[in-house]
């Protein structure tokens, strides 16, 4: 559903090459990347590139997987069969997106088990947005509209990321993501055109999800230490603030169109920039959530760990069954 680099604040760029790379190989690599050539799994790449990608792609994968939880929470309570079928399909897509991305990260030499362990132990990060609770049905609308909308804006440029398997996963994901955004906006539209109480629900959801959605694009450019290197390596194609601005410019008129109010008193159209000016984001809140202090962070992780632990016997039984059949086949 979404990616950005989520280093804890203060942990300044740790990506200075620790390993001394062969200068000739490095120069050839940099030249290929800056010419928009794709790097494929078995190609030579600097260790820092590999490490950054593993972190970025696995964080993204974790976000897709954890992202199923706030929505899965509402499947049994969807207000109609149509909404239920749609939500099921969307949540299944998120699971699929996680799997495409885990597979892409595995081509860099990390294992699925390692990544899952890193998520469960809290060593790996995932998008801060999923540590906010989904309190009403309108939240499902707001997530599709804003969270998936933000994800699309962030992911479209990554379809041209320099690492082939990542770029290809992004192409598939973007293709599937636009239905997510549209179904969310449709939910908001329906509520906004409904009873006073329904409209109030829609406004309340927008009020709670607006700022966390803007935070999804990551820290401001002047506090995003690894951005320059990632841009040079074409694994990030636009800066956090650029994409955030584009998101605001697109979503504000969408809110206006259905009579909802964006909860930002500083929001104003800027004639000269032909863009919206908007208020200061509460970065303290953002960093607190990154550190794991989000309102439902513990709940999310315990739900993930429980699903993994409860499924252990199924994984073992399948392995045992496969081994037994192999032995039987060999004996025949």
């Amino acid at each position: 559903m979404y990616t950005t680099e989520l280093n804890d604040k203060g942990r300044k760029s740790s990506l200075a090459p620790v390993v001394a790379e062969d200068p000739a190989l490095l120069a050839a690599f940099e030249a290929r990347v800056s010419a928009d050539d794709f790097i494929e799994p078995k190609d030579w790449m600097p260790e820092a590139y590999r490490k950054t990608l593993v972190r970025q792609i696995s964080q993204h994968a974790h976000s897709e997987i954890v992202g199923m939880l706030p929505e899965g929470n509402w499947i049994t309570r969807a207000p109609s069969l149509r909404r239920k079928a749609v939500l099921l399909a969307k949540v299944q897509d998120e699971g699929g997106h996680g799997l495409y991305l885990y597979a892409a990260a595995e081509t860099l030499g990390t294992s699925r088990e390692d990544m899952i362990e890193a998520l469960h132990s809290g060593r790996a990060k995932y998008s801060t947005i999923f540590n906010y609770p989904t309190l009403t049905w309108a939240d499902i609308g707001a997530i599709g509209w804003l969270v998936d909308g933000a994800a699309i804006m962030n992911q479209v440029p990554l379809q041209r990321a320099s690492y082939g398997p990542y770029a290809r996963a992004m192409v598939r994901i973007c293709k599937e993501e636009s239905f997510h955004q549209r179904q969310g906006y449709e939910i908001m539209m329906t509520l906004a055109a409904g009873t006073t109480e329904q409209k109030r629900m829609a406004q309340d959801a927008l009020d709670r999800w607006w700022w966390p959605s803007l935070m999804m694009f990551g820290p401001p450019d002047d506090n995003s230490p690894n951005s320059a290197q990632s841009m040079r390596w074409r694994i990030k194609r636009e800066t956090n603030d650029q994409i955030r601005q584009r998101f605001v410019d697109v979503t504000v008129p969408q809110a206006d169109a259905i009579g909802l109010r964006v909860p930002d008193p500083a929001l104003a159209w800027n004639e000269t920039r032909e863009s919206y000016d908007f208020g200061e984001i509460d970065w303290d809140e953002f960093y607190a959530v990154v550190r794991g202090e989000g309102p439902v962070a513990k709940e999310r992780m315990s739900a993930r760990v429980k699903a993994w632990t409860d499924g252990a016997w199924v994984r073992e039984a399948a392995s045992t069954h496969a081994a037994k059949r192999d032995v039987r086949a060999a004996a025949e």
Partner: protein, 94 residues
């Protein structure tokens, strides 16, 4: 506990008449489970009419470091391309 299911590469035939094309990979305990996982992961929107799954370990790939030696000589043999030959304009092409 390192009992991770093996990795399988997934190939999809988009429609009859086209070759199977690599789309990604899945973990599965056996081939049948790999087909089922590939179906759920890679063909949720009518992307295909047929699936192949191959144990990733069974694939031997060429070494990118040898790509020069393997593929470069082809560039020297431009006489393998029809444009290498000049035939008068008034002669009809086959």
């Amino acid at each position: 506990m390192s009992s991770e299911w093996p990795l399988w590469e997934v190939f999809v035939r988009a429609r009859n008449g086209l070759a199977h094309k690599h789309v990604g990979s899945v973990h599965a305990a056996d081939a049948r489970m790999a087909i089922e996982a590939a179906r759920d992961t890679y063909t949720r929107r009518m992307e295909g009419v047929s699936l192949w799954v191959v144990p990733s370990a069974a694939i031997t790939a060429s070494d990118p470091a040898e790509a020069g030696a393997l593929f470069e000589p082809a560039a020297d043999k431009i006489y393998r391309h029809p444009t290498f030959y000049s035939i008068p304009e008034h002669i009809k092409n086959i």
